[in-house]
């Protein structure tokens, strides 16, 4: 149900019946390792290519979420998934394996919340009994497509971020036990003219700020409504800028409430420069860590603002700036 300008409120409160997070060896060394359902010690997952490894992780996340809910693939009406690969091959190929009716999405790293918002909308409107929201990214495949070969010796600047190798999936249902999706704010595309692909956090921060402000305005709530407000993958630099921007716009979010998934997934001594990025960043941290904390009762209400940089390797070579987007989903216990 539309509430305000760009926010959906879900009166039936769709339930996240089960969720799953899959990660790679680098994620296994991070502080959130215990919140992953499956951790791989090989970034190849025994596959021939990084692309196939990513697809495999996405399949595993979907299958794990379905199994945890005690359901079968046939019970799921729709799979909504997106990723960073050209023509979203990870999602489409995983959907081929799962054989579930499929809606492919592209929201770059905002895909996690874009898919969760749409899955909740489908369930809330009774268009689906069970809908699965999923996304994935792989450090190797993303570097290959957007940056340089993995083994190429280029020095990255301190603003660069490390793409998460992983996948996350959340199964949304009409009823059952689990965290409930209560609202979602769909973001606008914001472009502040940043064109450096090693500076994604700075490019995406204004989009996150815009969506957070829209969410508060549409629902008539403030930061005190939430125990945690987490952006997707702004990293250290972007998070700092987003905080300052919010302050400039007179939106006060206490430091203990405002965080970023890209800062949580890796520890300080891991060489990730400004932090983590990638579709799997917000997906694994939300569908693993945050949902677990909601289930345990450590948190009551959270707002996840997944941020995405909508560039392509071609657009940045043609000196286009980076359009960015952020989608927010409010989840409560």
């Amino acid at each position: 149900m539309l509430h305000g300008h760009q926010t959906w409120v879900f009166p039936t409160k769709p339930v996240i019946l089960a969720s799953a997070a899959v990660g790679g060896p680098f994620e296994a060394k991070g502080p959130l390792a215990d919140d992953f359902d499956i951790l791989h010690d090989d970034i190849w997952l025994g596959q021939e290519s990084f692309e196939k490894a990513e697809k495999k992780m996405l399949e595993q996340a979907c299958e794990k979420a379905i199994a945890k809910a005690g359901l079968k693939k046939e019970d799921i009406q729709f799979l909504l998934s997106g990723d960073l690969m050209n023509q979203i091959i990870s999602s489409s190929f995983a959907a081929r394996t799962l054989g579930v009716p499929f809606l492919g999405l592209f929201g770059a790293c905002s895909s996690s919340m874009e898919s969760l918002a749409l899955a909740s909308l489908l369930v809330d409107s009774k268009s689906a009994r069970y809908a699965l929201a999923a996304t994935s990214s792989h450090n190797g495949s993303v570097n290959k497509q957007f940056r340089y070969p993995t083994e190429y010796g280029a020095q990255v600047p301190p603003t660069a971020q490390w793409t998460v190798t992983g996948a996350g999936a959340a199964l949304v249902a009409q009823e059952g036990d689990g965290p409930k999706v209560v609202a979602a704010t769909i973001g606008r595309v914001i472009d502040m003219g940043i064109s450096d692909p090693f500076n994604m956090g700075v490019a995406m921060a204004p989009a996150a700020v815009d969506t957070i402000q829209a969410h508060f305005r549409d629902l008539g709530v403030g930061a005190d409504h939430y125990d945690v407000i987490a952006t997707g993958d702004l990293g250290r630099v972007g998070h700092h800028i987003a905080g300052d921007l919010l302050q400039k716009h007179n939106v006060e979010i206490p430091a203990e409430v405002f965080t970023d998934c890209g800062l949580l997934i890796y520890s300080e001594d891991q060489p990730v420069m400004s932090g983590a990025s990638g579709c799997a960043c917000s997906a694994t941290v939300t569908f693993g860590h945050f949902l677990n904390r909601l289930r345990k009762g450590e948190l009551n209400r959270i707002l996840i603002v997944a941020t995405g940089a909508l560039l392509s390797p071609l657009s940045y070579q043609q000196k286009e700036s980076i359009p960015c987007i952020a989608h927010a989903v409010a989840i409560e216990r």
Binding site: E48, S49, F50, E51, K144, Y148, P149, T150, E151, Y152, G153, A154, Q155, V156, P157, P158, T159, D191, M192, G193, I194, N199, V202, A205, P206, V237, H240, I241, D244, L245, K248, P271, S274
Partner: protein, 159 residues
């Protein structure tokens, strides 16, 4: 940022960029230069050792010894790339590992490894020079231009 680029940006964008700029960590240029100097210098020192080695123990002069020296350095760099060491060294050394011939070997080897999954022809063959290609192209073009200048100067009796 150049003025030309600034003109394309709206006032809001310009305001944000200067807002962001003041909050971004800068590249540690001095530290990078020092590291590049020492690592690059060490690589050259190793190269010098091989040149001396080929001149002392084989029948090479200081001119002809450069060929086996370069080949040895390339083999070492390619092996280090394959074992996944070179990129970590490069994050530390920056320009120090890019400038010597080892950096060039790394660009070719890393691209070849990366695109192995697309097959030997379209993958390895087609992408091997993805990063090294521009260096070769503009190396040849600039060598040609410098050659022409040198020829013209000679013809005018300047050299």
């Amino acid at each position: 940022m150049s003025n030309k680029k600034n003109k394309k940006l709206s006032p809001t964008q310009q305001e944000y960029q200067s807002f962001a700029k003041s909050r971004e960590p800068k590249r540690p240029v001095l530290k990078n230069c020092l590291r590049a100097f020492f690592v690059g210098g060490t690589i050259c020192l190793i190269g010098q050792f091989f040149q001396w080695f080929y001149m002392t123990y084989f029948e090479f002069t200081d001119v002809t010894a450069s060929n086996p020296t370069v080949a040895t350095m390339i083999i070492i760099a390619v092996l280090m790339t394959g074992f996944g060491v070179y990129d970590h060294l490069a994050q530390y050394a920056g320009g120090g590992t890019i400038i010597p011939v080892t950096g060039f070997a790394n660009t070719v080897a890393s691209a070849a490894i990366e695109h192995r999954t697309e097959g030997y022809v379209l993958g390895v063959g087609g992408n091997m020079f993805k990063i090294a290609g521009p260096v070769i192209t503009y190396g040849v073009v600039s060598a040609f231009v410098i050659g022409l200048i040198s020829l013209a100067l000679k013809a005018l009796g300047g050299m």
